[in-house]
Amino acid sequence: MADETKPPSPVGPTETPTKPPAAGGGATTPPAKSAAKAPATPEPWSSAQLDQLNRRLPGAVSEATIFRGMPTLWVAKDFLFAVCELLKNDEGGAYTLLTDETAVDYPKREKRFEIIYHLYSFKRNDRLRLKVAVGEDEKVPSLVSVWPTANWLEREVYDMFGVQYEGHPDLKRILMPDGWVGYPLRKDYDILRQDEAWVQANLKIKSAQ
């Protein structure tokens, strides 16, 4: 499972559907004068902690990189729950705080969504990013039972991207109105688009634009 789940590029989009100028050579072109000090591309990352994770759950992490001081682990979807439980309960430095969970849409990829988790460990005082690639019809295991804070965060991802979660206690829209059709943060959802039927029925106006 490990290799198929991995999208073509480990970090960041190489294909840019909306912005043609940077497509292709984005990673190699030094942008502005600023890239002098910090490396412009993610580098492979390794640590004792990652080795331990690999030993206990072989095949769960398909790639580990570091960029701007923050390590990123690509996790296979089937292993996500196990990896998170392990990271949360790891005695060496438990990642007890789920800071954020969000998604990014890459419509051209085979698995279009990246679900991104930002974890923080009070003991180790460091942050870790987990990434999972998910296709449009796939369900993601819900992490509400690991970190209760995932409840609203997952609802927001569902609301904005239409990603379905498995095992979420109350998966419904959170910021958009309940009856809204469409997922606004998808890349194919134009910024001026709206659910006209909803607007006409509920706001009694022709258009909200």
Binding site: A35, V104, L185
Partner: protein, 370 residues
Amino acid sequence: MTEATFLDSNEILINMGPQHPATHGVLRVKLKLDGEKVVGSECVIGYLHRGVEKIAENRTYQQFAPYVDRLDYVAAVTNGMGYVEAVEKLLGVEVPARAQFTRMIVAELQRIASHLVWLGTHALDLGAMTPVFYTFREREEILNIFEKYCGARLTTHAFRIGGLQYDLYDGFETDVRKFCDYFPPKVDEYERLLTTNRIWMERTKGVGFLSAEDAIALGVTGPVLRGSGVKWDIRKAQPYEAYSQVDFEVPIGEHGDTYDRYLVRMQEMRQSIRIIRQSLEKLAPGPIFGKVAKVIKPPVGEVYHSIEAPKGELGYYIVSDGSTNPYRVRVRPPSFVNLQAFDRMIYGRLVADVVAVIGTIDIVLGEVDR
């Protein structure tokens, strides 16, 4: 939630908000009541949703900066600071020392201003009319400094990616020093009004209890987390700007109730004054802008950067595809995540405590709904 109700009466469902003076904006709460006891609640949010994250994808990095001021609009400076720092981290740019200390001074003033709004409205919600007049009087002084510095009082857009747009105006240091001398006695004054006030203590002690474990599990950050006794402040744990060069304490509470969170925020205002004083000492003449090109095109990659905003951890997750517009900007708002703890904090308490708990979380709906 299906336990037997008091006197076998039926549970009633009441709706609070979105138009309600004590919900601090357009928060709507559905409360399930058994008599006067709250046995369940659900927050309904989104009334102020403006799609800020979508807007970001359609603007350049610089163009998006003023939008973040409209998230937590009572602490626009810290919102802007988090965003510009995140972009700077993505670019790998160092900001000159003068700009860093200036940012810290302005951001700490903003923290005080934000806490003053919280204190005034929180006290007003609980029936203490006087503090709001006092706190807004002091907040006015801060906003006057903002206005002289960058021309705006509320949505300031005070900083730019790479540094500052303007150097400090003549007399900035005098103004800030004057405020630093003027303000601590005022905090004493608020404390005289509230800290040992019997009504205040009755209304806040033991109300909205949140244990440290629950707070962490629910992802709560900022003064609410510290009120539960967790000594964690991003300014100390993962210092940004020049916070590692100043000396200050992180106040924490013991009981995790509304009263402790009140004490924590009062102490934080005093600590902010300490930070401002030290930053003023270290403020030396020098450049105010780092090496940033006019057209910002960060390398392909992603960055997560978070700061200690007045309300908790404010994080920005930015994905760049190498073009002038961000591919994705995610705002991790403290208010949104903290509000999730509301249900836990109010469960089993009286309906009169609802406004106390909403107040103590210190939410701004612009940030909750984005």
